[in-house]
């Protein structure tokens, strides 16, 4: 493989004449040209596995996508529960650890007086969960920090292109996607009986049936906003509009 530098190439008559080497070079180029011109391209996204006489090694990106390796950190998603609500309990762990400070959360509380409310098992939920994908540095610390397995980066997608910055600010309807996740240790799974919980059909904060549904507050009550005093985080709020 290695070029043997002991031989002086200028002593070779063929290389000194230049024309024969020129013709050989043209032959190589032309052979590549004809092979790629007359043969269909193998579109296997694993380029090293491509077969056939066509030598093109391009992957035409939007049409052909190379699958990402396991563990690839892609676009965030908020993991849904079995009933479609986010698993998130608005604990602020991810927003706190985020080195880019791109996560903004507003927490809402379930009513404690209503005996049938979810507050028997969960106290809080996010009324706003916003990630500024432009500020995100894709470090994955939020995924590690989440105690509820509520945020993941397993979508295998890039952040899609947008025409303005506000399009990169993803909120709950856009983030809540993917297959639901259920753990036996989840508090709502620790019920006395296996009967369906009575609150299941009530309208809580979000209900993602068809996908993108506007945020709703519980039962038309006045919005209980959790006051955010830290000035660094709410920057994403102003980007939103």
């Amino acid at each position: 493989m290695a070029y043997n530098a002991t031989k002086n190439p200028t002593t070779d008559l063929r290389e000194r004449l230049y024309i024969p080497e020129l013709l050989r070079g043209l032959a190589i180029t032309t052979r590549h040209f004809l092979r790629n011109l007359f043969n269909p391209r193998d579109t296997n996204t694993q380029v090293v596995d491509r077969k056939g006489p066509n030598l093109v090694s391009t992957v035409s990106y939007p049409e052909e996508k190379t699958p990402y390796p396991p563990g690839y950190r892609g676009l965030h998603r908020l993991v849904p529960r079995d009933d479609g609500k986010p698993r998130c309990v608005a604990c602020y762990m991810c927003a706190t650890i985020c080195p880019a400070q791109c996560i903004y959360i507003e927490a809402g509380e379930y009513e404690t007086t209503d005996p049938s409310s979810e507050s028997r098992v969960i106290e809080k939920y996010p009324t706003q969960f916003v990630i500024d994908e432009l500020r995100c540095i894709v470090c994955g610390l939020c995924v590690d920090a989440c105690p509820k397995d509520a945020i993941r980066m397993d979508t295998g997608l890039h952040t899609p292109s947008e025409y303005n910055r506000s399009g990169f600010v993803w909120d709950i309807p856009k983030l809540l996607q993917g297959p639901p996740v259920s753990h036996p240790s989840d508090p709502w799974n620790k019920r006395a009986s296996s009967a369906p919980p009575p609150h299941q059909q009530r309208e809580p904060h979000t209900r993602v049936g068809e996908g993108l549904v506007a945020l709703k507050l519980p039962s038309g009550e006045p919005h209980k906003r959790t006051e955010v005093t830290d000035q660094a985080i709410p920057v994403t709020r102003f980007l939103k509009d």
Partner: protein, 461 residues
């Protein structure tokens, strides 16, 4: 399936060439003595400019295929039936033109107000004027008139080519000077010195062919190449007279190489692209934008086409098929009074040869690294010029000895055989470097590298 598509595309190209040639002959026959007007329009605007325009696409697409890429394929038209189909990047030609024409035309404040806009014109016009003396098809009788696809046929013939080719350097050096930019000036100076070095070899390289065909006019040279050096004296059925034609490349292989190299340097394309020097000084058109820059680019491709036509006319037999068919085809179509068909067929053959030469030029541009500046001057003055002078003396002596040109042809075949034998010789055995072919990333697909065609047979010699 893809091979079929490619063959259809080639057929469309050849059909378009044939149709345009037939149109030129028919309209020329109707106009009679005013045929040079339609020749001017159809040959220059139709053939040369269209081929040059499509060469801008071909350069990118073909280079992509030589380098195992796909090339431009994203421009599409959102019409029903066309949506999402790129046709091999065909629409990139239109998008390029629109881009060039609508870009802002920046003129530097300190640039010369008169010469700065004049330079692209001076670079572009000579390229087209060169084409005036090139005959594309034979002179045939169409509706009572003698029609040939040539704009002008003066006695001085090739001297016109030399004169106008030297004028082209005014455009580049003026562009370099009037831009008031040091890099542009460097490019212009390089261009002019390169032109001076290669103009001599350009002229002297053709001298042998002029002596062999004893004419300066391209039609006479092409007519001289219809003769057979060795061949059957009577016709063999439909094949007609079969034999080895007196093509310029057989008579003058050295002259062909000298002329091709010198003309390549005149086009300022990559092995000789120091005036442009994209990687160092950007070149004489560094201050130009918009369609002024586009004129420089399109003149480069027009020069490629015109150089191919001249080379075809002098060295590749022009419109002749050469080895057979010529006599029967001419007699059959002349007797049937189908002069336009005969002319169109021959003109198509001419343009196919031109396209093949265009491919060779593009392949050379994408195969070879650039020459250093001193290498360019060395090649021009120390190699091509003495070689051209020696070629003139040897050619003259052999023509004097044997006016039938056979002695010249024997020498030519010996030279060609020598070069081919060197080319096909098996490379140096172990210890020396193998051909680079085995290490190409192209073969990273797991295929064994195919030997060069003929390499195995040459080893038995």
């Amino acid at each position: 399936m893809k091979a079929f598509t490619v063959l259809v595309a080639i057929g469309v190209i050849v059909g378009a060439l044939f149709g345009l040639s037939a149109l030129a002959y028919v309209v020329g026959g109707l106009l009679g003595p005013w045929a040079w007007v339609t020749n001017l329009l159809i040959l220059v605007l139709g053939f040369v400019m269209l081929i040059a325009t499509f060469l801008t696409l071909a350069e990118r697409k073909w280079s992509a295929m030589m380098q195992n890429r796909i090339g431009p394929n994203r421009a599409t038209i959102g019409l029903p039936g066309l949506r999402g189909r790129s046709f091999g990047g065909l629409f990139h030609v239109a998008t390029d033109a629109i881009k060039m024409l609508t870009k802002e035309d920046v003129r530097p404040r300190i640039a010369d107000p008169l010469l700065f806009p004049l330079a692209p014109i001076l670079a572009f016009a000579p390229a087209l004027a060169l084409f005036a003396v090139v005959p594309v098809g034979p002179v045939v009788t169409v509706s009572g008139h003698r029609v040939g696809l040539q704009i002008a046929n003066p006695d001085f013939g090739m001297l016109w080519v030399f004169a106008i080719a030297s004028l082209a350097v005014y455009g580049t050096s003026l562009a370099g000077w009037s831009s008031n930019n040091k890099f542009a000036l460097l490019g212009g100076v390089r261009a002019s010195s390169q032109m001076i070095s290669y103009e001599v070899a350009l002229g002297l390289g053709l001298m042998g062919a002029m002596m062999a065909f004893s004419s300066l006019r391209l039609p006479d040279m092409i007519a001289g190449q219809t003769n057979h050096l060795w061949g059957s004296s009577e016709e063999l059925g439909i094949l007609g007279k079969v034999g080895i034609p007196a093509w310029g490349i057989f008579l003058q292989p050295v002259g062909f190489i000298i002329f091709f190299a010198a003309a390549f340097a005149e086009t300022k394309r990559t092995p000789f692209d120091v005036p442009e020097g994209e990687s160092e000084i950007i070149g004489y058109f560094v201050e130009y934008s918009g369609m002024k820059f586009g004129l420089f680019m399109i003149s480069e491709f027009a020069e490629v086409v015109i150089l191919s036509t001249i080379t075809t006319g002098i060295f590749l037999g022009g419109w002749n098929i050469g080895f057979g068919f010529d006599s029967t085809l001419t007699r059959a179509l002349t007797q049937a009074n189908l002069g336009w068909l005969l002319g169109a067929i021959y003109a198509t053959i001419f343009w196919v040869k031109v396209l093949i030469l265009c491919y060779v030029q593009l392949a050379i541009r994408w195969t070879f690294p650039r020459f250093r500046y001193d290498q360019i001057q060395t090649l021009g003055w120390k190699i091509l010029l003495p070689l051209a002078l020696a070629n003139i003396f040897v050619t003259g002596a052999l023509i004097l000895v044997d006016p039938s040109l056979r002695a010249l042809a024997v020498l030519g075949f010996v030279v060609i055989a020598f070069v081919l034998a060197l080319t096909l010789r098996r490379p140096e055995p172990a210890g020396a470097h193998d051909t680079d072919d085995a290490h190409l990333p192209a073969d990273a697909h797991g295929h064994a590298p195919a030997p060069l065609p003929g390499a195995a047979t040459a080893s038995h010699h």
